[in-house]
Structures are given as C-alpha cells and as structure tokens.
Symmetry: C2
Subunit: 396 residues, 2 copies
Amino acid sequence: MRLTPATELEHRYKKLQHHMAAQGLDAVIILQNADLFYFTGTIQNGNLYIPVEGEPVYMVRKDLMRARMECGLKNVVPFGSMKDIPSVLAAHGYPLPASIGMELDVLPVNFFARYEKVFPEARFRDATPIVRKVRMIKSHYEIHLLQDAAEQVDRVNRRVRDVLREGMTDLDLAAELEYVARKEGHQGLVRMRAFNGVMFFGHVFSGTDAAVPTYVDTPLGGMGLSTSFSQGAGYKRIERNEPVIVDFAGCCDGYLVDQTRIFAIGHLSDRMKKGYDDMLKIQARMMELVPERPSWGLIYEECLALAFKLGYADTFMGNKGAQVSFIGHGLGVEIDEYPFIAKGFDDMVLEPGMAFAFEPKVVFVGEGAVGIENTFYLTESGLKQLTFSSEELTIL
Amino acid sequence: MRLTPATELEHRYKKLQHHMAAQGLDAVIILQNADLFYFTGTIQNGNLYIPVEGEPVYMVRKDLMRARMECGLKNVVPFGSMKDIPSVLAAHGYPLPASIGMELDVLPVNFFARYEKVFPEARFRDATPIVRKVRMIKSHYEIHLLQDAAEQVDRVNRRVRDVLREGMTDLDLAAELEYVARKEGHQGLVRMRAFNGVMFFGHVFSGTDAAVPTYVDTPLGGMGLSTSFSQGAGYKRIERNEPVIVDFAGCCDGYLVDQTRIFAIGHLSDRMKKGYDDMLKIQARMMELVPERPSWGLIYEECLALAFKLGYADTFMGNKGAQVSFIGHGLGVEIDEYPFIAKGFDDMVLEPGMAFAFEPKVVFVGEGAVGIENTFYLTESGLKQLTFSSEELTIL
C-alpha cells in the first residue's frame, strides 16, 4: 500500500492555490472522495480546507487516527460539528473567506446548504473546473501508478486466452477476468464523476450484445444482468465467429487505466476485420496529430472526419441515435477526467502530463462491435503509450 | 431478467402522489438511478415527471428504445433539451407546477440549478423523505426479489467452507466469494445513497483487520487494499484461531440483502465465543421487541441498553471513538434505506412491508470482531427472516 508522499500533496495544493488566486477565490473546500484522495492521500470523512495562501487544514470526523496515518498534510485535526469550522480556521490563523470554491458538480444540494449556513456572507463558486485542471496534469509518481495499472490490465487480458470457451456466457467471462483483477489488487471500484455515472470494471460482451445501446456515456452499452444495471456483460452465450470485446479498467492504488481488445473463437468476417483495422487507423491518426499540438477538440474533429471517410458516419462510437460525442477521455483517480477528446474541447490544448484513453469503436448492428482502446500520456518529448497488450486480433 | 410489472409501477407512483398531495407538491421530478429504477423499472438517462394527479411522463435522452422496452409506464417520450420540458408537459395536459419536489439529498448543485432555470416561478422542496417512505414499504414482488438475493448470499456463504485456508489473504477470500456472487447473477454494484457512500460487495476480513476503524458508516471498517478505498478486505493473511468475518450483500435484479457470518480455522477464544453469543442475544431481543411495535428508535435504545448491560459500552458497533449510532438499516434497491434502527428514529413506527438488516457487532481491539447480521421483513402476522444461512459459528 503506497502512501501519497507529502511533497506530492504540497505540489498539488500549491497548483490549486495558483488557480485560486487567478480566480479570486479565498478558499476551496474539498469534500468528494476522489478529490479528497487526490489532495489528502486518504478519503477519511471530513472537510479539506485549502486557503489561497498557507497550508491546508484537513478536519476529520472519522477516522481521525487513520487520517493522521495516511495523510501527509501537516494539519489534520478533529472535526465535530459544522458550526465549529470558523473557530478551527481562526485557530490556524485563517480569516473567514469571502469567496469559496466548492465541488458544485458533485455536491448534493442539501449538503451544500449546510456550508452556506456556516458562511452566510460568502460568495460560492464552482471549484471543479480548477480542481479538474490540476488533476489533469499527472506527476511522475502518478504515471508510475498508471504503469502498474497497465501491467494489471495486461494480466487480465492475457487470462482471456485461457478461459474463453464457446457456450460460456459474457457474465462467465467477465467473472473470470474480475477475479484475476481482484487477485492482482484491483480495488473493485471504478470511480466516475458524472452524476448517476457508474461502471463495474468495464464491459465484457460478445456479438450482438455489444451493439445494444444503453444510458451510459460509452460507445458500446450491453444488456447487463438486469434493468437495474443495464450495461456490460449479460447472459448471452459466446458463439463462434463473433467478436468478444474486453474493455477493462485496471486500477492500482486508486489509479485507473482503460484498455479494449478484441477476441474471437473461429474467425471474424472480413467486414469486422476491416472495421478493426480502420479503428487502428484512427488511433494512428490521433498519434500522428499529437506532435502538431492542436487542441483536443481538433483532434476529435480530425479523427471523426477520418471515421466518416472510412464509411462509419452512422456507426462510429455507437449506432445512429446512440452515438457519443467523444473518442477519448482523461483518467486517473476517476475514469472521466480532463481532457476529453470530444466535440467542443477546442480550447483545451495538449500539455505534458495529460493522461487519457483513446477508444475508436464501431458498431455493426445485429452483428457486434469492434475497436481498440489504449491509455496514453503526454511528455515533453511526445506521446507515450501506457497500456501495452498485443493489438493483434486474438483468434482462438 | 425480470421487468418490473406495470401494476407494480402504478402502485408505487400512486403512493407517492398520495404523499405529494398531503405535502402540497404539484410534481416530483425523479433523476437519480435508484429512484428511477424504482419508479420506471429501468435507469435509462432522463427525467421522470410525476404529477400529483395523472400518469407520469418519462422523458428519455438515452436510450429511448430501451426505456420503451424496459419501462411499464404509458408515457415514455423522447427528451432533447431542458428547455423542452414545459412543452412536453403541456402536450400531456399538465400545467407548469408551482411546487416541485426533487431529490435534494443526492442531486448535485449544478444539476439542480438547471431545473430552477426551467421552472423559474416554482418553489422547490426536498422530495427524498417521501420517496424514501414509499420505497420503505416493500410489495410481495419486491419480497420475492429479496428472497432470491437471500438464496444467492447463502450460496456465497456456503462457499467459504470450501476455500478458507490458513495463510490466504483476506483479499484472496473476498475474490473467491465475489466470483461466486457474480456467477450467481450479482450485478456487482451495491447502491448506497449517502454522499460519498460506496461499498464493494461487503466486507470480508479476519482478526485484527476487522477491528480497524475507517470513514465508512459501518460498525467494522477494515484496511482495504489502498488509501484510495480504505475499507473491507486487505492483504492480511488469515491465521488460525481468529474470527473471519463474511459480511456480504447479495443482489438479485437490483435488490439487496445483507448478511454476516463468522468463520474460524482452529478455535476461537472463550471471550470471542461469548461475544458472538451475546450478539445473538441482542438479535433475539430485537425479535422479542418487534411484536410490541415500539418505534425503531426505541428498539435501538433497548438493544443498546442490553449491549451495555452485557459489558460492551465501549466496543459495541465499533470501537470507542468510531462507534456508529445504529444497529440496523432498511434496504432494497439501496443498502441505506428507511427504516434506520438508530438513535433518534423515535417517530418511525413499525409497518408491514418494511425490510431491514439488523447487525449487532462487537470489536475486540487488537484481536478482531464478531457479530451477526440478518435481513428481515415485517408482515401483518409478524417478523420474517429473509437470510437463512446457519448461525452456528463455523469452525474448520
């Protein structure tokens, strides 16, 4: 179990303070698990108060001892009641903030109202855009965690060859792979920031079931096991000559990578094989564009144009009516971080330290889906690929 | 895969409309996955508009076809943009509502703000208390789902005997049990309503690790695999003569039950065995109190008093400083539903149809923890137990 180094935490909150100063925020209060983990190294229940200058104060309700063991910040203090917050701040020499940033994209209305009462004079603003901007740039420490997660997802992927059998269900295959992931230290959770966003390891499905659309903001949906969670693996039996999609999120010490590979028993039709090769071409196009350093929005547009040119206007990134408006997404502690390789992200430029998954996929209605997904990151010297499982179609 | 019957959905929204009328709400808008599943039978992305009188309108962004297949409501209509909501309502003969209930305990601030813009004249109130009251009373259909989940968790529990070995880690054991659960149709997700509340199947841990407190609102915590998700199974090796706790949530077609059983290799100390017997006594006390129909708050107080009398003032439901203020919790689609058998629930009376888990547990610091958990429901003729695995300590 790694503990986030204190120097790492300091670097993170100082970057946030830089953005806060630029935006005129006196303080940011962090409450949500993923952000707490990023800025404190733990997720013990409490408030992290980050002033625009000076050291943060982590006020912990439960469990204080554990927060003190796991968190490398200097000020980890007990937290009893909301109304004590001003006196805790005063004790650390911090005045009442006039403008406060909070995570308004994830914070429930009732929860937020309690902070409005504690700071009746303050103006509140959404801090999530700057939190996301800080989290978007990964440190060397974080890249190492992503590399470990890439090793894990490769071990999961290599297991497919051993267990994939005609007649097993998508669920049977998913269960085998989840078992490997857990034994390799996957925490189970795949954190997603979007409201109602939820995922379970990823999506493992075959043939027609991969082409079933659903609510989730992913190119492929899946039937799932029930209408309560209608995505991913269901009870479809895996047959010969159809693509089996293993879209799996590896997770090491809280850090996620995303990878998709295609398998089949028997053979795949020429149309499917061409579809797969075309998705590789779109991946290659992205890799070609990165050194030119356009915006993520422009990379999206260029890759989308190539998909259209290759004949997939109605089937790229989902079937017509269920197509998603991205080809890739940042990731780290959450599966949906900045940057998005998506429509409208024309202002978001490429920066060293960005980590992202790129996942061109195409649906063949009533037949299945194929595609590729890898996790990458940017350095000063160019694009590096984190996930590394063989990109050959695995035909058993 | 079961589809929630249309009659069931009708019964549910009519009960909600009854509460809405009593509270003077013209409409409730349902957005959160668990509530959507309960009131529509699916969780396709959209808004469910429930007027105080008349049939609900489910406006679906994605995936509409799938919502139409899975949802038994009459009005399942396409949904493009927020600003279209008033015209959709008008098309169904509904005027603009003056007072609107929304799920303010889970709805993010930014998300809610969009609805305030669509209905600038409306007063908004928290609809969650009445939603929870409706969901609290289970139908025969729902009890059948809970029974299936109880069968599933028993199959998971029976597997422990086959796989538990000295020297395996808590994670190894957890992975084996999760594998069984998945093969038996567990969706993976264990839905929790509380902000930042998250759980993965349950908690499987041994000896000292079971006594480690953490942020989560459960009597036992656990080390977990990393500080990113510091609860449940970690890398501790299972030794002889220490309690192994299998606290596992079964899940069938979206419905959860919760069960805890204790295992050991070798033997358990007399102190541990007495602790376990005492927890059974507290369970028996609850069962004795139910026919008297006091409030849930009073059942909590009586059972807590018995725990004190048995000598567990500082160790019941967590170690001193980390004790939780409940002994049981309602459950169904979420693991934290009404009723709570908790401090302060003096106004919440016992009603037929309530389903709940009751989990008296005691911590022995530096040694481990023991306890029992079962899921029950109330009928006109009394208390029925849903989970049914043997309550004998399993000593291998």
